[in-house]
Structure formats: C-alpha cells, structure tokens
Symmetry: C2
Subunit: 471 residues, 2 copies
C-alpha cells in the first residue's frame, strides 16, 4: 500500500512514523489521530489516484486541510490522512467578474490578502483564518463573523471540483450565478465534511471591499437592547452591519488573563459586551459631511448617542483608527484560545436559535447546568446577529457522561426554541450523538441512502457526520 | 387505484375524463398531458398517502402546482398528476424574523401581496407570477428579474417540508440562517423538479420593502455601454440595482403587436433597450435633497445624464409615477406571451454566460443560425445583469431536428464561453438532450445514483431531468 501511494505522490509525500506528527494532534486535544500514513498529493489527478486505490482496497481516507475544526472531523485511526496542504495555488483572480479560482489547500488569510490586493474581499472570516484552508472551509460550510452580511461559505462559492469516493473527478467549476442543470451536487458536497468526496478546487465569489468601516465596542444592560441596537443600525445604514458579536464579562476577563497586554474594552466591567461593525460600500457613505465625519461613522455614532441618551446603552467606544479596530477583532477572534486554553475540561456546543430567543436560551440553561454540574461555568461567545451561540461550558471535572448530559440539555432547550444543535462547526464526531438523538429520522435515512449510493465501500471519512445505524 | 386514491383525498378531488382538462394542456403547447387521474390532496399527510400508494404499485407521479414551466417538467402520460393547488395557505408571516411559512400551492403573486401588507417583499418575480405557485418555484429553483440583487429561489428559502418517493415526510422546516447538521437535503430537493420528492411546505425569507424605486428605460449603442451603465449604477448606489433587463428592437415591436394599447419606450426605435431599476433600502436614500429629488432617483438620473453627455447613451426615460413604472415592468413580463404567442414555431433556449460575454454569444450565433434556418429570427430577452439570456428563436418551419440543431449550436457557443445550457428554466424534458450531450459525465452518474437511492422504483416524475442511460 505504501509503495503504491509513493508511486502516486512520490515517496517524500507519504509520511509515516514520526513524520506524521503534525497531523496526529489537533488543538482541541480531544481527537488524536494515528493514520496509516499521511499522503500529500500535488494535484487533483493524484488525489483521484489515491482515492481509486483506497476504494479498490477498502482503505478509509480522511481528508484534511488546515485541521482547525472543533468537531473531530479529521480524526484518522488506521486510515490514510489525505492532506491537501501542497495544493495551495490561487490560480486566478478576475476582479471584473469578482471571482477567484483556487485550490483546496489555500490558507484562508492568504485568500483574504490576495483579494484585498484587487480591492475586493473574500468576506468569510474567523479566528483560525491563519491556518484554515479553503477545502476545509467548504467541506464544513464554515460560518464566522461576517455571515450576517455575506452568508455562510455555501453562499460564497459558485463552483467546485471534487474527487468522488469512486476516484472520479466531478467538474462543477461554474462561474455563473444561474445554472439549473440537474441536482445541485455542489451544495451536497459543501458541508458534507469529506464523507462524500474530496473538494479539490473552487470558484469563490469576491465582494467589493468596503470603502470604510466603523467599529465599536458597546455595553448594553440586556440582550433586548442589543437587538434594538442591531435593528436600528441596520435601519440607519440600509443593512450594512457586517459583524454583531456578543462577549460576556467572563469572556473579557479570560481574554485579559490570556496575555497581560490584552485590555478590557471599558474602564468599568460590564456583563454584556458587543462588538459591532458596519461597512460602507457606496461613495456617499464615505464623503465627509460638513463636520468632517464620514456618513458611515456618523450613522454609528448617532445611533449610539441616541441610545445612550435614552438610557438603553451603558457604554460605547468607537475605534478611532485601524489599530483600535484590529484590537477589537483580535479580542473576538481569540475565542477558541480562550475557551480551550483554560486548562479546564470543556463541553463545546455550537447552536443557533432565532435571534430574539437567545436571552431565553441562556435563562433556561442556568438551572439545568446547575443541576448537572454545580461547578460548571458557561464561557460563551456568540454571533448574536445570526442567533449563533457558542455555548461552551468549563466543566468542573473531565467526565464524558456529564458532558454529554450538558449537550443533551442544550439540545432540549435549543429544539424547544426552534433552533439547531449544530450551527456552523458541523457534526464531525463531536456531535454524532446529537445527530442520532435529534435529527429528523427521515432526513437521516435519506442521508444514509445518499452516502451508500455515492460511497458503497464506505471509504470516505467513515464514522463522521452519520451516526451508526443502531444508534 | 382510483378507489384507493378517492379514499385518500375524497372522490371530488380525483379528476378523471374531461375533468382533467385544466391539467392536460400547458401554454407552451409542446407538452400535452394525459394523466391516469389528477389527484388534489388537501394536506401533507394526504400527499404522503398518495405517494406511498404510488410507490407500492409502481405508479408514476407527476407533481404540478401552477404549471407555468417552459421545459415540460409536468407532462404526465399514464401517470398520476398530483396537483398541489388546494394546499394554498399562508400559515404565518413573522415580520420581525422576516419569514413566511407557506404551503406549496400558494400563488406567487399572493405571496407578494401578503408580504407587502407587512411592508416586506418576497423578491422573486417573473411574468407568470399570477399563476406560478411556491412548490413549482422551489422545485425548479426559479430565477426571474430580481436575482441580481436577491438571488435565485434557492437563496430565498430557509426550510422545506417534502414527501420523499417512499412516502415519508421529511421535516427540514428550519427558520435559521445557520444550520450545519448533515447533508443539505434542502438544496438537493430545491431544483430537482419533483424527481426526488414533492415539496409540500416552505419557510421563505422576506426582505425589507424598498422605500422607493427609481426605474427607467434606457437605449444604448452597444452592450458594452450597457455593462458600463450597470457598473456605474452599482457603484453609485452601493449595489442597489434590482433589475437590469435587455429587450432588443424586435421584442419591442412584437410587444406593440400584442396589444394596440402597448407603446414603445421611446419615440424613436432603438436596437438595444434596457429596463433598469434601483431600490432604496436606507432612509438616507429617500430623504429629498435641496432640489426636492430623493437621492435614489438622483443617483439614477445623474448616472444617466453623465453617460448621455459622454455620448454613451442614446435615450432614456425615467418613470415619473407608479403607473409608468408598472408599464415598464408589464412590457418585460410579457416575454413569454411575446415569444410563444407569435404563431411561429419556437426553439426555446435559456442560457447563461459571463456578463461580459453576452455580445460575443450573439455575434457567434448569427452565422450559425443562418446556416441552420435562414428564415429563423431570434426573439431574445435577457436578465442582462446575470448574463442570463432567453435565446428563443422563431423558426421558419416546425421541425424537431432543426430545432435541436439550433439548440446544439447554442450549447456549443455557450459552453465555449464558459456558460450553462440551462440557467433558470430547468431541464424538464425540453433540455434532456442537452443534459445527455453536455453535462459532466461524472456529475450525471452521481445524479443517477442519488435518484436510484431515493427513488428505487422510479415513480417520481420519471423521464424528467435525467436523460435515459443509453443516451
């Protein structure tokens, strides 16, 4: 097997023994890998040959790109770890058509820089952007902090190329905004977490780079005022809110502990802190008024001032320059380090509820958490504008059963409020029991039928997304 | 069989003989039906029972809602025609959440009115809106004139309920903008044209109703200037262009012939006529300036005036009131009557190319059409902002072989330009040969595998979307 793999990708690109180290751990620490080998193809054709070999021999294949997922979707034991990291070319950026044609191994922040060089943006962003790669971003339909304005990854991709479980290459590299020619295989492969094939290339949508941003940290008395602020800002700017992020007091405190250089947003500590950002796309929004203030900033400052006068706001700081803005983003994007880096056991829950139900969700969880683990402490951060709450919990002890009980309680309350038990991190292995317990039975059966039809030998990322049938 | 169907939906809702008349013809005239019976269920449960019976007996089922498609997707011969028209309730509109929960049989224009009553819009619109129903709109992933700003139907639906080919009901009625819990079955069923099941209910996204529109007819010397106008308008308004529609001279002339009351947009006839509309969503766009003109209209008028001065524009008329605006829309939405109502045989082609390749597509088609049928005349209308061209051709004779040769020539040129042979009307039966000839082989095989997995008895709308394997 190793010889055959070496014949396909070259011996230096088949890693065994200690050379696999980089791919054996991932940073949540919950999903260590022990792959048969790590194989690093250099082209789609090499990916196809590896998958064909795996399919013929019944060898499981686990695709991995940046390996920054939080749900264990890349854990490989006795499988081939297929790393896309060598396929990292940005083939083309066409500014007029506002598209980029890229390989799966392109790092997200490299994509950001390449787009910005053309005065465009690829708007998807989240904390792990310096490591996450396009392939993983697509396979998990990643979300992040700009979904409110620009949508999930799914909404930002026009076309893909992928290798199916039988080793055949499917070319869906459309650059069009309208294409109704049969079943939408692109949307099936995006978000399938590598269980239906390996995405190797994509046509991404780029957006005009906002001419200016206005960014602020805001403290409000309750989540009701937070929603009011969101609605007033959307109204004032015609829907230009790019980010609306929630950070509670213990998040701010944990961020300060992470690094002595980190500072709190306000002199006083508040319970409910928001990071808000609006982006100006039209010239009229950046033409300074008589007072020298550009309209986009004026909209934000006026909205904040009005709410402060009405007693609906506790505190607000508007970024005065780019480095102040960057500091606000850095605090938000430290979420994963804050949650996972405390040394305490973590129950991770990535859920979504209707935006006006977030406060009720928190209220319902408090007694349930107390009953399950009185020493537990929620460490929450949320894309509040999407109703997407990362309801992580620092547990008092490392105990799988209690963690799962917490997850069950979260599922109960989320589903009661019409929400989803998995918003943007996907299922991987971490949420398999949630899938088994909560997903619509008929939907689950249809997913299994599709998996069986496209991957009859079950070689593509087995044990992920779909819980075992007997669950 | 008829007794069993009557037992499910009631005898009055099983139409046979002449009572089927309404469902036996459709207005292209190319796809007459002769169904076993027309069955009109009143609930999802009744749909499920009908499908279960059909699946057990191997009886084909053809779902139909408004029956306004152009590709023959609802032709039924010896099959059960399953009409969703009785399931026509708008169950709920939640203005704060900006969603509507509706049955598949709701007529599109009824949905428009219900949304407008809440100062919201359901932005999808096209000529057949007074008959088309939500179920068909979803099943075909319909496009239309506002895709430029709001996306296709696929982008406007958060959740669906559907009956799968085995008669089981799948509940995917999410109201969330983020939900990553397994394969995206919604996007698989949307656009599957009823071949993978029957969509019975949906959660639709609503959008804020623009506070004002500015609408104009514009004549330009070439398509290059048309693109320039689009880009300048997008720039001036920050992306507020809602419609950018192309109508050539013979379209305008045919529209005048349709009804003596119809008038041409300009005193003089021009070759390239555009209907453009921008929509104002922010208060600042509708606050009148010192001259009394609201900014959204000023942006449009200024852009047109500048281009006229630069010799880039031949003529322009801005709608001065709602009835002038409606007349502009009415002209555009008469497309299907214009194309199909001439009495001449029609070759229908609904294609998309990159926006900057439309002129090249036209230029390439002229000699090819001349060679195939010297008496033929293209009768074109286009969603130019999407690169979506309805390249219909009035043929000199009714001849299937020549028609197909025209379609092949269209496919050749479209694919050479990186386009799609089916943009928004879908495949149905009319584009089956295009699918067989042009669709990626691996994609087609994957689609067939999915169809086989979900509908092993092949009962759901057989003979549509997927060409026979021996093609």
């Amino acid at each position: 097997m190793l010889d055959k793999l070496s014949a396909i990708v070259g011996a230096t690109n088949v890693m065994t023994g200690d050379a696999r180290a980089r791919w054996m751990t991932e940073w949540t620490g919950y999903f260590p890998s022990d792959p048969l080998a790590v194989v690093r193809p250099g082209s789609t054709e090499e990916v196809a040959q590896v998958i064909r070999l795996a399919n013929e021999t019944g060898t499981p294949v686990v695709p991995v790109s940046g390996n920054t997922g939080l749900a264990g979707g890349t854990q490989a034991v006795g499988a081939i770890t297929l790393s896309l990291d060598r396929m990292n070319k940005i083939h083309e950026i066409r500014p007029d058509a506002r598209i980029a044609i890229v390989d799966a191994g392109v790092i997200l922040s490299d994509m950001h820089q390449a787009a910005e060089a053309e005065s465009l943006i690829f708007p998807l962003t989240f904390g792990a952007k310096g490591s996450a790669m396009i392939g993983g971003v697509l396979s998990t339909n990643a979300g992040g902090s700009n979904v409110l304005r620009y949508g999930n990854t799914r909404d930002l991709v026009l076309g893909i190329e992928a290798v199916l479980p039988n080793g055949e290459v499917v070319n869906l590299m459309s650059e069009l905004h309208k294409d109704n020619s049969g079943y939408n295989l692109r949307h099936l492969l995006v978000g399938a977490e590598g269980t239906l094939g390996v995405i190797t290339r994509a046509v991404l949508k780029l957006m005009p780079k906002p001419r200016a941003y206005a960014t602020a940290m805001v403290a409000v008395p309750t989540l009701e005022q937070a929603l009011l602020l969101l609605n007033r800002l959307q109204e004032a700017t015609g829907g230009a809110v790019e980010a609306f992020e929630y950070m509670p007091r213990n998040y701010i405190e944990a961020h300060k502990r992470l690094n002595p250089a980190n500072r709190a947003p306000f002199d006083e500590m508040h319970d409910i802190n928001l990071m808000v950002e609006v982006g100006a796309t039209a010239p009229r929004d950046v033409t300074p008024g008589p007072d020298g203030v550009v309209p986009i900033a004026a909209h934000l400052e006026q909205t904040l001032a009005d709410m402060f006068e009405q007693g609906l706001l506790l505190d607000a700081v508007v970024a005065q320059n780019d480095s102040q803005r960057q500091a606000m983003w850095e605090r938000r994007e430290a979420a994963a380090e804050i949650v996972m880096g405390s040394g305490r056991p973590v129950s991770n829950n990535d859920i979504a509820v209707p935006v006006d139900k977030v406060a009720e969700f928190f209220a319902r969880m408090t007694p349930r958490l107390d009953a399950l683990d009185p020493g537990a402490e929620p460490i929450v951060v949320a894309h509040l504008g999407d109703g997407n709450v990362h309801y992580a919990v620092w547990m008092s002890v490392e105990d799988a059963r209690t963690k799962d009980a917490v997850t069950e309680a979260v599922e109960d309350e989320v589903l009661r409020l019409g929400g989803s038990f998995s918003a943007e991190h996907g299922i991987g292995q971490g949420k398999l029991s949630s899938m088994a317990r909560r997903k619509d039975r008929v939907a689950l059966a249809a997913m299994r039928a599709i998996k069986q039809a496209l991957d009859p030998n079950g070689i593509m990322n087995p044990g992920k997304v779909l819980p075992p049938v007997n669950d």
